[in-house]
Amino acid sequence: MTDLIFGAHGLDSGVLLQLFLHFAMLSLLAIGGAITTAPDMQRYVVGEHGWLSDAQFTSSVAIAQAAPGPNVLFVAVVGWNIAGLAGVAATLAGSLLPSATLALAATRFGDERRDARGMRAFTAGMAPLTLGLLLATGWILTEPVRHSLGAMLLVPVTALMLLKTRLSPIWMVAVGAAVGAFGWV
């Protein structure tokens, strides 16, 4: 039971605070999404403190991607593997509180000035970059399966299904999982 709450290392509250503060600092550096801070998280929890092994860290990211919901949940799995539920609270609160506060401040600031020339130039200028980043994300996601013909067929077929039909994406994910489980990708 204590393992469930505090994890295998039995970390005390001072260490949990340290964990929280490190993830809070990374939260403010996470431009482009939480996953961009994964290399530094890995350095901190695996290299510097030895709380997790390399394999545990990598599987934490994979588990979060296999589950529904935002990818940032991988920090919760990392926290869970380090220090149980207390670890989840430390890593998740650390990853979300600073960036959430900033996002709310920014949206209120932006809404009050949405017709100002600077604000319009900002949203117009950033729009093509946003779409370029989306395309880049899609391309990077294909990296682990690029050697497989089946998977590289699955990518454009999925894209066409989303563009041309009203089918919910969840069905396409189910098909991907089934096709993968049969060893076709």
Partner: protein, 194 residues
């Protein structure tokens, strides 16, 4: 009415309560395997009609420039816009609560199943589908660039340069966003002034 953006804005609706915001974000989070963005676009723009595609891109731009998880930033901003801090809290809770429980259950189960080839294969298949979904979402939103003051061609150039720098050359995102981003915002500033 000839202006398509204004015509689109007429069909928009607002969530009635923070509870509705929670339900919609909960529903889209639970459908979002390998990332929530594709589902968010379908649910928020196409199904619920809470915003136009152009507004979606605008929020996504802000969500990407700000530090933190993009979709969480977007959820907070959308919730806040409709129902203040209660809406923001409802959107965040809807997005995170159920998926957090599921992911922790999976983490507790993983030791038994991660080594099975079927599980690894299923993960690869889901990864390929997630890639296709993200690419399709980007293609769907390309139409919003037509009303961009920079003009269609300049926009395409900036989008392709971003794709090249981040996706192919794998340059650090901070530098690309600051460098290309300032050039794009400066271009837009000049074109708007004309």
């Amino acid at each position: 009415m000839s202006d398509p953006a204004a015509a689109e804005a007429d069909t928009l609706r607002r969530p009635a309560s923070a509870g509705e915001i929670f339900r919609v974000f909960n529903r889209l989070a639970l459908q979002g395997f390998g990332g929530v963005l594709a589902v968010a676009q379908r649910e928020l723009v196409e199904r619920e009609c809470w915003m136009t595609p152009a507004q979606f891109v605008e929020l996504l731009s802000l969500g990407q420039v700000l530090p933190g998880p993009n979709i969480v930033n977007m959820a907070l901003m959308i919730g806040d816009r409709f129902h203040g801090w209660r809406g923001a809290a409802a959107a965040l809770a809807g997005l995170m609560c159920a998926p957090l429980l599921i992911v922790l259950l999976l983490a507790a189960l993983y030791r038994e199943t991660m080594s099975m080839p079927m599980v690894a294969g299923a993960l690869r298949g889901m990864g390929a589908v997630a890639a296709g979904l993200v690419i399709a979402t980007a293609l769907k939103l390309v139409g919003t660039l037509r009303s961009n003051p920079m003009g269609w061609k300049t926009c395409a150039l900036f989008a392709l340069l971003t794709l090249l720098a981040i996706g192919v050359l794998r340059w650090p995102m901070v530098g690309v966003v600051l460098g290309l981003g300032s050039a794009a915002v400066a271009t837009a500033w000049v074109r708007i002034g004309r």
